[in-house]
Amino acid sequence: MKKVKADPKGVLSGSHYLDGDYAIAEGGLAAGCRFFAGYPITPSTETAERFSERIPSVGGVFIQMEDELASIAALIGAVWGGKKSMTVTSGPGFSLMMENIGLACMMETPLVIANVQRGGPSTGLPTLTGQQDMMQVRWGSHGDYKIIALSPDSPQECFDLTIEAFNLSEIYRVPTFVMTDECVGHMHEKVVIPPAEEIELVERKWYTGPKDQYLPYKNDKDMIPFMIKIGDGYRFHTTGLTHDERGYPVINAECQDVCVRHLNDKITMNADKIIRLEEDEIDNAEIIVISYGITSRVTTRAVRQARKAGIKVGTIRLITVWPFPEKRINELAKKVKAFVVPEINYGQMVLEVERCAAGQTPTVHVPHCGGWVHDPDDILKAIKEAAK
């Protein structure tokens, strides 16, 4: 993995007062994203607006496409054309992107998609928050594949994790998602952007061997094939069909087996390296609250009150949501009295917690159907109930 310093042209070093949407755009620019294709949708539009304003003086292209189908398609083209690329959207647009998210996975195309979630289903709550696309991001396109998804809890993290998303997407050649929400997207807070030389970026895994020996889908030792870009004379082929090392379609069960296992295993086998959690007071905890994004901030408030009331509560904040920290949750399930999972949906990541707890400990869900963040008291109540 080759690491490089960020190009100062894209880095707006200094302290800023930004909302999460703007911070995502700045994170992208700092990460070297020079191609943005998008379609306006509340509450993510500000990211596109910021990009369109900033990119002309950085050197790159912003294009507003005719829809989200086109946005993700254009990203795939631009990445194979050699650019780091990203887009941003919300529920309805995210649904439109699903088919080509699968194409990006199949072609092992590194790109970043931010989803500023709003309440759904359908048009739902365009201007109000939700965390309801957490399963869609994992399973939304057809077929078996795995992606990486991160969940920022603040504008600062929108910046930081967008950069991280680019790095992860390049390391594993996989679409990587910044799953934020309306609350964080529209919330203004201090965002510190470091000097370019302090921002470490992962360079694309460029192939450098002899041209006639290039195989676009031959795995390297780390399971990840090398990449080239259009126009460099490799005359390669890539396809959404099940393919062999040459990138040629092979329509049979054997090739499918190799192809699908690879797309999944490259993430699963590297999960320990990918997953980032924030744990607090886990060791003696009787109850562990597992949350992510804005909900984890609200959770902290509830947890402090619970601790004051004498309950031993630990917290886990999922910074990486996918891959899910299966091992850790399974391990902790042996020790604690219960898991409590607040999230702004009617039951999504809680299913993962339940799966990993594997019947060893109960899991208490604190649902919220969207439109606002939890009342910390509701989380507190659930903690108290679970501790009984």
Partner: protein
């Protein structure tokens, strides 16, 4: 922790008020300040609002619940938001635009003719800056210095001076009011002695 709501009607720069104050606090006054604003159909109506949660530590719950400070620059905003103001909160209004109901609880009220002052300075769009100056001096939540530092980038460059002038106007007026308040208090205290 302090919760603040700026309110008025669209076009008065109410969101700007939240942005300037939030930026001033978190970049130049060493505080944590989370700003949110009303979006969508709600924001399309005539009442408009931005909210700030200010704290010495990280803000956990991003929205306000019982604000300690309410700034209202329109009658409608006043009517909508006054009832949620804390019983011992501070209410700040534009004198010429808001007709007050009898004061509730221990709420302290300060009023300033911000729009009139701004007109006198030559541009009524700076009324929000007069208001911000006034708010800064009567509440001391944020320093004048930080507020002025926060202005570049949030007001058009060519209007920076005018905006600073407007801010000072409001700020000085606030100081005067505070001085008068003190004076009017001092005699009674003397009387007690």
């Amino acid at each position: 922790m302090t919760e603040i709501r700026f309110s008025g009607f669209g076009g008065q720069g109410i969101i700007r008020c939240g942005l300037i104050t939030g930026k001033a606090l978190s970049l130049y006054d060493n505080k944590h300040a989370t700003m949110t604003q009303s979006f969508g159909p709600e924001a399309r109506g005539s009442a408009c609002s931005s909210q700030l949660v200010v704290s010495d530590d990280r803000v956990l719950y991003p929205y306000i619940s019982i604000p300690e400070i309410l700034i209202s620059m329109s009658q409608e905003a006043y009517e909508i938001y006054e009832p949620e103001l804390s019983e011992d909160g501070i209410l700040i209004i534009d004198k010429d635009l808001v007709k007050m109901n009898p004061a509730r609880g221990k709420i302290k009220t300060y009023s300033v003719p911000s729009t009139r002052f701004a007109e006198e300075l030559g541009n009524r769009i700076t009324a929000n800056l007069v208001m911000l100056g006034f708010f800064s001096s009567v509440t001391s939540v944020v320093s004048a210095d930080a507020m002025k530092k926060a202005l570049p980038g949030l007001v058009p460059g060519r209007f920076l001076d005018l905006n600073i002038k407007a801010f000072d106007k409001g700020y000085d007026y606030g100081k005067e009011i505070l001085a008068k308040e003190k004076k009017s208090k001092t005699p009674t205290q003397k009387g007690k002695k």
